[in-house]
Amino acid sequence: MSKADAAAAILWVGATFYALFGGADFGGGVWDLVAGGPERGQRPRDLIQRSLTPVWEANHVWLIFVLVVLWTAFPPAFSAIFTTLYVPIALAALGIVLRGAGFAFRKSIVGLQGRRAMGATFAISSVITPFFMGTVIGAIAAGNVPGAGNGDAFSTWLQPLPLLIGAMFVASGAYLAAVFLVGDARRQEDAEMERYFVRRALIAAVVAGAFAVAGLFALHSEARYVFDRLTSQGLPLVVLSLLCGIALLALLLRGARRPLRPLAAGAVTAVIWGWGVAQFPYLLPTSLRIDQAAAPGPTMTIIFIVFGVAAVLVLPSLGLLYTLAQRDLLESEH
């Protein structure tokens, strides 16, 4: 494995963590959005808020990690993506701002009206943000981003495949969130909320699955390179994702308690790495290869050191944060 390939793998690791944890946070917002009026939606919103509050900022940092690794290790790819897909990227950034502000302000604002407005801002932008991020990934996978950048601002992502991937991002975030929230409800011995999110996890799984299947068809017509490799070299990962998804559905239907979260994470992780394998050796299929976009060796070495330090310092710290949060030792105080 070359230095550049290793750096690409680090990029994918960061993207995986962001998809799992950031994705689940977006999903929490999706469930907040569809929770109904103030009375009816109070309990799920409360559970969502308590689960998200201590961890969403730390989860958000994975996005920064991915961006930084991309522009440092593969500057031409970063530039090509941002000069082409600036419309969905700017919309995702808008969503990020509205979402963070809405969430932070909702907790501290007085008065029902203000809180509802902030809550709606948070919830709606929790759909907008992953959707446009998904269209960016979809446009890359479809090979619509020219390696030299400056691709068309609209036709590159206003295509079936990018839009389907956007919808799939929203649905898989909702799916992850529902599965995580089932666990949180159980921990708090709240059987009603547990049933509530089991039902929603099943719905989200079916919806995400439907988008994935539709996405495969779109992939077949719009992104032949990626489709061909996904159904050959990437096939084991696709199968693994499918198996995880089916096993999780079976467990949810039977009311089993574990291992729900690892299976949900496994399903999503397998898809992300399947995509990675299918794109290899391209960062931007089929116009920019990993080695063409790679920064000089010493820069890559810094990326490796940073990744090593992250593994030694950040992952245990994240573990501590999640452990404290899961043991209900962290809570907001007003």
């Binding site: 409360d46 990690f65 530039s79 950034a93 000089p296 330090v309 209900d328 809570e331 105080e333």
Partner: protein, 478 residues
């Protein structure tokens, strides 16, 4: 493959102005929040320490309130910081394309600090109730370290733009080799980094103190307000003299290494010795109008002798001169002026304390402290204007012009307008939230209606969802 858009040159020139305005605005907004991220943890930890060590409930209450405020400012700072990293690609893609491999190194390191900051900030902010006193205190200490480390990395990246080194370009202008240590520790790192970290401590110190000065002017003179004034004010006042020393050193280094920036900020037209220091005024090509001139002082400040030769704008090619000369000059003077004023404030406090072990009694003292927060933010902005506008037309000094770096994307004016609206909402929201928090605290620390997102109140017959009730301050342990 899709057809590429031909890019009209006129659009690019207009883009440059729009992109620079948007970058300046979003950076100016974020930098205040990042100061809070860098220096608020230490301020909170000091109050927390005093509270635990002396069983001082007022100090504990302050630490709690400040950490709740920090929860809001950090959230807003996290998203405005994210906007900046998006803007690197959205506004300056050619800069990133060419130099990402070199100066990205600093941001890669910053990523680690930001991660740890987000993690330990969450543990600290949300750990007040359930973690034991000292364990909770120690969980906050990493925030202090990551604040410094994060500031180092980000400002090192900016220093590199002022004093680029540690990379090799090939004939096509592509970075083919990088020496990461040289990127991080460039000639400007040594003064820019401490200058910024001290600025963060000054901004936080004076800003927080100004809130309590306003409260005291309104007659709230309890221990909480006195401590709330004294702890941050002390931090700000200790940082100020050190800052003036570092700033002075920085100005000399700028005169040495970035003569165009120095000539512009000091309005020096002709190279030579015996340069006059102009305080205020309007810079024109035939001298400075309406300024207070101090003969020889500029030469003396640069080289400790009136004979010191200082480079003037006449030696800088026309197309390499920083724009808006008077604006730069006045920004620099305002920054130095505010710093000097804050130093005088410190001397006054020190004198009063030495005489009577108390802050000065006159309401004028509180009035001055009440505006010191805004003044220090103003000084912060002025400093960044000098650094950034003073480097123009370069984005990477001597290597890449800002006009070469800007995106060809359309609609930057539109996005700038949108950003203005968005950030106006963001700023208003943050201020409103802070004010409603402070009103709540004053009204006896009563919590929000329940702990729940947006229900009118906890419906009867269900178990309370948030942890209900407000425990006494200080949790009764020392």
């Amino acid at each position: 493959m899709l057809p590429l858009d031909p890019l009209p040159l006129a659009a690019s020139a207009s883009n440059l102005l729009a992109a620079r305005e948007q970058m300046a605005f979003t950076l100016g907004f974020h930098i205040v929040l990042s100061c809070l991220g860098v220096a608020l943890p230490a301020t909170i930890l000091i109050a927390n320490y005093i509270g635990l060590k002396k069983g001082d409930e007022a100090a504990i209450e302050l630490a709690k309130r400040w950490s709740q405020a920090m929860a809001v400012t950090f959230a807003v700072g996290a998203v405005t910081g994210t906007v900046l990293s998006f803007e690197f690609g959205l506004l300056w893609p050619h800069f990133m394309d060419r130099f990402g491999a070199a100066f990205g190194v600093a941001f890669a390191i910053e990523g680690i600090f930001f991660f740890l900051e987000a993690i330990f900030l969450a543990i600290y902010i949300y750990g007040w109730k359930r973690l034991s006193g000292w364990a909770h205190f120690w969980s906050g200490v990493p925030m202090f370290v990551t604040g410094i480390g994060g500031a180092f990395s980000v400002v090192a990246a900016n220093s590199w733009m002022n004093q680029p080194q540690g990379f090799t370009l090939n004939a096509a202008g592509k970075v083919v080799d990088v020496e990461p240590l040289k990127v991080l520790v460039n000639p400007a790192t040594g003064y820019e980094v401490p200058h910024m970290i001290l600025a963060a401590y000054m901004v936080v110190g004076f800003l927080v103190a100004s809130v309590y000065a306003v409260g005291m002017l309104k007659g709230r003179r309890d221990r909480l307000h006195r401590l709330g004034l004294l702890i941050p004010l002390t931090i700000g006042l200790i940082a100020t003299p050190i800052q003036l020393f570092v700033g002075d050193t920085a100005a000399r280094a700028v005169a040495d290494h970035q003569p165009a920036k120095f000539a512009a900020m000091e309005c020096i037209q002709e190279t030579g010795g015996h340069q006059t220091e102009y305080v205020g005024g309007v810079c024109t090509s035939d001298g400075v109008k309406a300024a207070i001139p101090i003969p020889d002082l500029d030469s003396f400040l640069v080289g400790f002798s009136a004979d010191t030769k200082v480079t003037g704008l006449n030696e800088i090619p026309n197309d390499e001169r920083p724009p808006a000369n008077t604006f730069l000059h006045l920004s620099f003077d305002l920054m130095v002026g505010i710093g000097t004023g804050l130093l005088a404030l410190g001397a006054w406090v020190a004198w009063a304390w030495w005489k009577r072990r108390d802050i000065p009694r006159t309401p004028w003292f509180l009035r001055i402290v009440a505006v010191s927060g805004v003044a220090s933010v103003l000084a912060l902005w002025c400093g960044w204007i000098v650094t950034e506008v003073g480097r123009q037309p370069w984005i990477v000094q001597g290597y890449m012009r800002t006009s070469e770096a800007v995106t060809d994307a359309k609609g930057i004016w539109f996005s700038f307008g949108l950003v203005l609206l968005l950030y106006a909402g963001l700023g208003t929201g943050a201020v409103l939230v802070m004010r409603s928090m402070s009103r709540r605290w004053r009204e006896g620390g009563a919590g929000l209606e329940g702990d729940t997102p947006y229900a009118p109140s906890t419906p009867a017959g269900r178990k309370p969802l948030g942890v209900s009730g407000n425990r006494p301050v200080g949790r009764g342990k020392t």
